[in-house]
Structures are given as C-alpha cells and as structure tokens.
C-alpha cells in the first residue's frame, strides 16, 4: 500500500474510534441501565444490600429450606445472624449460583460498603459434574456478561456476540457425562468401579439387592444419587 493509503486508513481508524466513543456515551446515558434490568437483574441483589452491613452471606438454594416438615423455616443466614446479634448481616441468595457467580457479585459491591466479613457457601454438591455442567449455566453466564470489569459498551458488545459459556442442554449433558469418566474415584479401600459411568452401568444391570436378593429400588436410586452428587 502507498503512503496516502496508510493515511487514508489512519483517518478512518480515528473516525471509527470517535464513533465508538460517541456510541459508548449514548449507551451509558440512555440504554445501559435498561439492559442491566433486562439481562442482568442479578445486579439488584447487590444494589439492595445496605451500605452498613457488616456481614454478607452469599448463598444459593441451600440457604432456603425446601422441606415442608421443618419446624423453623428461616434461612441458614438468619441462624448465623442469631449468633451475632450485634452485627448487621444480610444475605445475597441466588439459586444455582456458585463461586464464579459470587466472585462477579462481590466485584459489584460499592466501595463505600462497610462489609468486613463475607460468608461464602460452597456446597460439596456444587463441585459435581452435573452441577458444573448444569443447563442453567448458560443463562447464569449470560446474566453476568454486563457485570464484567469492562466499559459498558464493551460488555454489551460481548453480550451481542455471545461471548460467554453458551451451550445447549445436549452439549452440557455430553460434558458432564465426559467428566463422569474423567473424574476417578479415590476410595481408601478396594472399589470395583473406576468412575461414575462404570458405577452407573453396573447399577443399571444389577442394582442394590435387599436381603432376599431382589432389587431395592429406593436404595438403588439413593445410592446412584449420592455417587453422582459426590463421587468426584
């Protein structure tokens, strides 16, 4: 390319830069908040937290009780609050959330917040393959794009161009099934199966037998559930 060709390009690059700056300005002023409410309403959980809170409890669905016969139906975070009556504790509960989500939310905390302690719940179950590759992950990740530590227009660009962990339910299923094979069991004693898939295959053929040698359906389902939830 000739010299004036490069000048030509430089002029256009400057024009493009100015255009992007203008769009960024327009976006921040007129559209960003609407997009936050539309695509990342999770931000409201942080915004609702009072600045004078001393402790923040970051929780997922385990913070709530799902059992109808529980005598006390308060959240776990409420119980913790009972231990520290002199401190102000608020919970930030988002079902299906995990450490990755909490990290983004913590970044959104205002600087003037007086929070000194953050309690993060990490349930053992949330480390299993089915949870890591949950079909809910796509929508969760989509919700976090606008909250990334970038200028708003960059985040909207990333959202428009689907720059997040976007997978179909079938792809997620394939992923957790693959992880079931990758994650080997580590037992302190001899165990006849190497991983969840092997266990699952074996169970589908034999099942857990009761004393009379018949398949105990309830026990089988429970055992399979536990192996899949914690066998990693």
């Amino acid at each position: 390319m000739q010299n004036n060709g490069w000048k030509h390009i430089a002029l256009r690059l400057v024009s493009l830069l100015l255009l992007i700056l203008l769009i960024n300005l327009l976006y921040k002023k007129f559209f960003f908040e609407k997009d936050l409410q539309g695509y990342s309403p999770i931000i409201n959980l942080v915004r609702d937290l009072p600045l004078d809170a001393d402790i923040i409890y970051l929780g997922e669905s385990s913070n709530n009780t799902a059992r109808g016969d529980d005598l006390d139906k308060r959240q776990i975070s409420d119980f913790i609050g009972d231990y520290y009556p002199e401190l102000v504790l608020y919970d930030l509960t988002k079902p299906a959330a995990h450490a990755g989500v909490f990290k983004v939310l913590l970044r959104q905390m205002p600087e003037e917040s007086e929070v000194e302690t953050v309690i993060v719940t990490l349930t053992l179950r949330s480390f299993n393959a089915q949870w890591i590759h949950s079909p809910l992950e796509t929508s969760l990740q989509k919700e976090l794009v606008l909250l990334r530590p970038n200028p708003p227009l960059v985040n909207r660009f990333l959202l428009s161009f689907k720059a997040y962990d976007i997978k179909t339910r079938e792809e997620r299923t394939k992923d957790f099934q693959a992880q079931w094979v990758r994650d080997k069991f580590h037992f302190p004693y001899e165990f006849p199966h190497d991983h969840v898939r092997e266990w699952d295959r074996w169970m589908s053929h034999t099942g857990i037998r009761n004393d009379s040698g018949e398949v105990d359906r309830e026990q089988t389902i429970l055992a399979c559930h536990y192996i899949k939830a914690y066998g990693f």
Partner: protein, 471 residues
C-alpha cells in the same frame, strides 16, 4: 462457530492477517486448515464426510477427464452422484423416508417396520454436496478441466466463508481465485468490512430481534388474536430474509477480505414483480444451480407445453425437498411451482408483461402482491407439519377468543425493521458496499454509526443459529 459470535470475530482477522503475511504458495494450506477448523467447531467427526466427498469428486474428476467421451465417463459421474447424494440421503432424508414407509406399511396392515436412526444432520451438507456435484457434472460434460491439485480442490469444497450455508459456488469462478496471488488491497478490505457490518446488522438486529416473536406465534398460535398471528406470519418473511441475506452478506464480505469474490445470493427479492423474478433474486446460487443442472437438462422450455409444466413442477418440488425432509417443504415447493406456472399463464393471456420502471406505483403494487404470495407460502415452510400450517390459516380467520396473549414487540424492533425495508428499497439492484462507497463522507459514517449502534446496543441476545444451517 457462528458468524455473529466472538469466536468468529477473532478467527477471521487472525486468518486474514496470516493470509497476507505468508507467501502465496502456502496460502491454500492456511485456508484449508482454517476451513476444516471452522467446520470442526460444530462436530469434529463430520469433517470425515467432507473429506470423503472431496476425495470421491477429486478422483472422479481426474478419471473422467482421461476418458474420451461422455459415455465412458458416465460410470464415474454415477459414482460421484451416488456417493454424494447417498450421503445426503442418509443424513437428511433417511428418517423421513422410513417414517413414511412405516406409515405406509401400517396402513397396508403389514407388520414390517424399517428402523429409524438417530442421526444428526451435518451442518451445510446440502450446500457442499451441491457444490461438489456441480464440479463433477461440469467435468463430465467437458466444460471444466479436472483439478489435479488435491489441496486446491479440497479448498473449493470447504472454503469456510461459504461452507455451511453457501452461496453455492461454481468451480470455474472460485478455484482460479485461490490460485491467484492476492495482494492486500484497500478496496477489498473496505468493501469486505462494509459487507460484514451490514450483514451483521441485518442478522443480529433484524432477524434475531424478530425470531422470538415468530417462534411464539408458531409455537402456540391458538393463544394469539388473528392480528397478532398475521404479524407473526409477516415477520417471518422478514426474519428468514434478513437471517439468510445477513449470512450471505457476511460470507461475501469475509471472502472479500481474502481477495476472493463470491457471487451475490440476494437482490431485494421482496421487490420482485412476480414469482419468476422472485426466484431470480432469492437464494440466487441455488436457483441457478437448479436451472443449470436440473431444469436445462430436463429440456427447459424447449419442450412441449405439458412437459414444460412438468419440468417446472419437478424443479420446484426438488427445490422444496432440498430445504428439508418434511412434507411441508414439498408442499411449499409444489405451491411455488404452481404459482409460477399460473402467473406465467395469466400474464401471457392478459398481456401483463408490461415493464414498470423501478419504484413506480405499478412496480410497488406488484412487489406487494409478490410479497403477500410468498408470505403465505412461508407458512408451509415454517410450520412443523401440514396440519400446523392449515391450523395457522384457520386461526387467521377466526374470531379471537376472549383471553388472548399479546405479541408485545418493542418500538425499537419496528424502527429497525423500517430501516431495513428502506435500505432494501435503496439497494434495489445494488449492493451495500457499492452504494455506500458512492455516498459523501458524513453520510457514510452516519450509516456506519447507525449500523454499529444497532449491532452493539440493539442486537438480540438470545442465541438463534442461522435458519439455513438446518438445511
């Protein structure tokens, strides 16, 4: 890897950059590797199908060229057609055929049942199969010299910008461009980028913002009032157009960045004055493929009137079937054929072949007629079954039930749709890159601003793959 994703936004510039940095003799390797990588991002295994198709046609082509006449070349052509169409049949039509066969057996009271298989349709199989077939047919007729370089041939079959949804290119147009030492050219770069920008706009801002509403109406039409159903039906016409036109425009733009010119696939089809013209403006690469490799070999219009009618119907039926393995596509194709014939007869009898100047009242009225006819036929195309399509027609003319869902379409979607319609009117018989190049600097950058604003700020955020990927 979809064109409207961050993956492609990284992939394309990297390929373009390396392409111009390396010597010409290695570029085919880069493009072939990039194309295979692009295709494997969907499903790694299906690359084997492309490789198989490539090898079959490469060998068939060379063998055919060595033989003196068509008669002796025929077995190689048959081999190429059988393997390519066989693969297409297996992956695309096998289950459709067996389901209908089983239904037939059931009706006849026969206990036989042909097993249905769980196969996933490989992305773009209809496109690259037709592309390789055109090569084999041309070599058979002696119109095309066989390609001796396997790499260039493999690149022709798999060139990533047009691999998964066309435009379906001819060997004689595409291959010489791969062999030419392309130099970094400002004109190609700016034209390519303009086309990509415009293509992204119509896919991401028009098609993706409409898709959700169309899906709602077609999923549960009974929940909507007639007017909303009508809205949904009309919006689908714009959705499928902007989706496919957007894809093709990005494909053409991406190839242009590499100095490769791909044929246009759309020319304002909804401004066509009749069905015949519509097909000269819609999915041009497929229409011309059917014209050259099916309609003409059948005799075209140089046959008896009855035979001509049959030829037209057959071409449209097969075109319908090409789109998908469902009776709805066959009906859609058949009805298009019928309309085409009817229009020709009526226009001939009433001497309505008058020329209307562009944008005249006559032109716009005829375009509206074409749009409405095509929109009605899209109902069959979009519906899951014939019954669903008929249900849509019935619901269009019923009294709305007391409790209906409302189709709440944001004002911004209507505004951008209007922008799209206006731009299509402006671009009648022109391409965006050519039109914008002739505009004064402030207008040009104003348009870029609107397109960029639309793409970044108003793009639909749901992931709607390109409609034609399923074909």
């Amino acid at each position: 890897m979809l064109f409207n994703t961050i993956d492609f936004a990284i992939f394309l510039p990297v390929v373009v950059l390396i392409y111009y940095l390396i010597p010409h003799k290695y570029r085919w390797i880069l493009l072939l590797a990039a194309s295979y990588f692009f295709y494997m991002s969907w499903k790694v295994e299906y690359i084997l199908l492309i490789v198989a198709s490539t090898l079959v046609d490469y060998v068939s082509g060379i063998r055919m060229e060595r033989l003196p006449d068509r008669r002796s070349r025929l077995p190689w052509l048959v081999l190429s057609l059988s393997i390519n169409l066989g693969l297409l049949f297996f992956f695309k039509y096998y289950n459709f055929a067996t389901e209908n066969l089983n239904l037939l057996f059931q009706k006849a009271g026969l206990p036989t049942e042909v097993p249905v298989m769980k196969v996933l349709l490989p992305v773009g199989i209809s496109f690259y199969t037709f592309q390789t077939l055109s090569y084999a047919i041309e070599v058979y007729f002696g119109n095309q010299k066989a390609e001796k370089h396997l790499g260039y041939f493999a690149l022709y079959v798999s060139f990533f910008p047009q691999l998964v949804a066309g435009p379906i290119e001819r060997y004689s147009r595409l291959a010489p461009q791969f062999r030419k030492a392309q130099v970094l050219n400002y004109d190609n770069l700016s034209r390519g980028l303009r086309l990509i920008l415009y293509g992204l706009f119509i896919k991401m801002v028009i098609a993706d913002n409409i898709s959700g509403f169309v899906d709602q109406v077609y999923a549960t039409p009974g929940h909507f009032a007639s007017l909303d159903i009508l809205k949904g039906i009309c919006l689908y016409s714009f959705q499928i157009y902007s989706d496919f036109y957007g894809y093709s425009t990005i494909a053409i733009g991406s190839a242009l960045l590499l100095g490769i010119r791909i044929m246009d696939n759309f020319k304002s089809p909804y401004l066509a004055k009749n069905i015949s013209e519509f097909w000269q403006r819609w999915h041009i690469s497929l229409s011309t493929w059917f014209r050259d490799y099916l309609y003409f070999p059948l005799g075209g219009n140089r046959v008896s009137k009855r035979r001509w009618l049959m030829n037209i119907l057959l071409v449209f039926l097969i075109s319908g079937l090409w789109h998908g393995a469902n009776w709805t596509f066959l009906i859609w194709g058949f009805l298009f054929g019928l309309l085409y014939i009817l229009e020709r007869i009526v226009n001939g009898a009433l001497n309505l072949q008058k020329e209307h100047s562009a944008y005249s009242a006559g032109h716009l009225l005829l375009a509206l007629k074409t749009f409405l006819l095509v929109t009605i036929l899209w109902i069959f195309f979009r519906s899951q079954s014939f019954e669903d399509a008929m249900n849509m027609f019935q619901l269009l003319f019923r009294n709305s039930p007391a409790e209906v869902q409302s189709l709440l379409i944001p004002v911004s979607t209507w505004i951008f749709l209007l922008v799209f319609i206006i731009s299509d009117l402006i671009l009648y018989n022109r391409r965006f890159d050519t039109w914008i190049a002739g505009m004064p600097y402030p207008v040009r950058w104003g348009v870029y601003g609107i397109l960029l604003l639309g793409i970044i700020v108003f793009a639909g955020v749901e992931n709607f793959p390109f409609i034609y990927f399923q074909f």
